[in-house]
Symmetry: C2
Subunit: 204 residues, 2 copies
């Protein structure tokens, strides 16, 4: 299969296509088999490209996993714009935006699969760590969170825990809850975390 | 190896021992290889017992995984006693008790390994789901949570998310935080969830 695909079309025209096909195949396979059991060879085969092309674009399996962690542009924009706007209601908007990514039939399965893989394998966990750290290092995100990095990550931790209970573990009490009601119960806690400045010492 | 172990000692005296060795080996292997790649045969081999003994005690791989999810008696008692006492400070006590399980050199690696395996594999996730549902069905826990099941699971979701970010993903902002300060920032959110009655409709 890889030989055929190398033969067809002009390489230049296929470069972007190939990259996207590789990432899509990687998401599929990391989701189905986990990080460790997935091989570059099997991803190359599904994407219809040569293994060398993966090495060229992503360097290594870990590099490819990191690329597969990137949210689609649409999702990234959604999260970012939820942080923009009145600070008092940031928690409500971030909660709604985050949960909508998990509910979405396109981004939901992807974010779930990648979360499963990232939590399961220590090497994959460290790729998620870099991705999250990189996210708040971006100028636009950094500016929106002005001195509230820890609070942002506490808020994201809360949302991650809810998503795991609702979509991964599917605990009836959380999975069966009405989405709006669930969001309304979580948003104040998320808001509280977002309100706290990094320099603020703990208060009970 | 399994043949030797079947020969030595009196079967009756070894029954409890054998069960414990099986669960210990199961925790090791689910942790190291994940749920799917672990076989009853390899667990039997590590525990020095016959595969039939695992079937006898646990029925199946899923049954054995469920058994390996059970916290040691000590840990269970710790969580339970954190819920007893003044309701106003339940959140603070539950947060401290839960984080101490992850910090503990004995229970920490175990709870981490099992969390990784349970999140990674859908079948293992459903075992975790049953275990958590079973936990609040116990008479003593049920009584302590009187009509606040959803709030308890929202609180546990928050704590789970924090634990994943701190101990599994090891995000510097959360992993590097002082434990007491971290607990003090989370406890009010946990308390708020525990305070909300199941019948309470959402309030923002």
């Amino acid at each position: 299969m890889s030989h055929e695909s190398r033969r067809r079309g002009r390489p230049a025209a296929n470069a972007v296509d190939g990259r996207e096909r590789i990432v899509a195949a990687a998401r599929n396979q990391f989701a189905a088999k986990g990080f460790r059991a997935t091989t570059l060879r099997s991803i190359a085969s599904e994407a219809g490209v040569d293994v060398a092309l993966i090495a060229h674009h992503f360097g290594s399996k870990l590099g490819l996993f990191a690329a597969s962690l990137q949210l689609p542009e649409k999702a990234h924009t959604l999260l970012l714009s939820s942080l923009a706007g009145p600070p008092r209601t940031q928690g409500k908007r971030l909660t709604a935006a985050y949960l909508s990514l998990w509910e979405d039939p396109q981004t939901g399965p992807q974010i779930q699969a990648i979360t499963r893989a990232a939590v399961a394998d220590p090497e994959a966990s460290s790729a998620l760590q870099s991705t999250l750290s990189g996210l708040v290092a971006q100028a636009d995100v950094h500016q929106l969170l002005e001195g509230r990095r820890t609070g942002f990550f506490l808020a994201m931790s809360h949302l991650l825990g809810i998503a795991i209970m609702r979509y991964v573990v599917q605990l009836p009490d959380i999975a069966g809850a009405d989405l709006d009601e669930l969001a309304a119960r979580i948003a104040p806690a998320v808001q509280r975390h977002l309100d706290a400045s990094d320099k603020q010492t703990s208060a009970s």
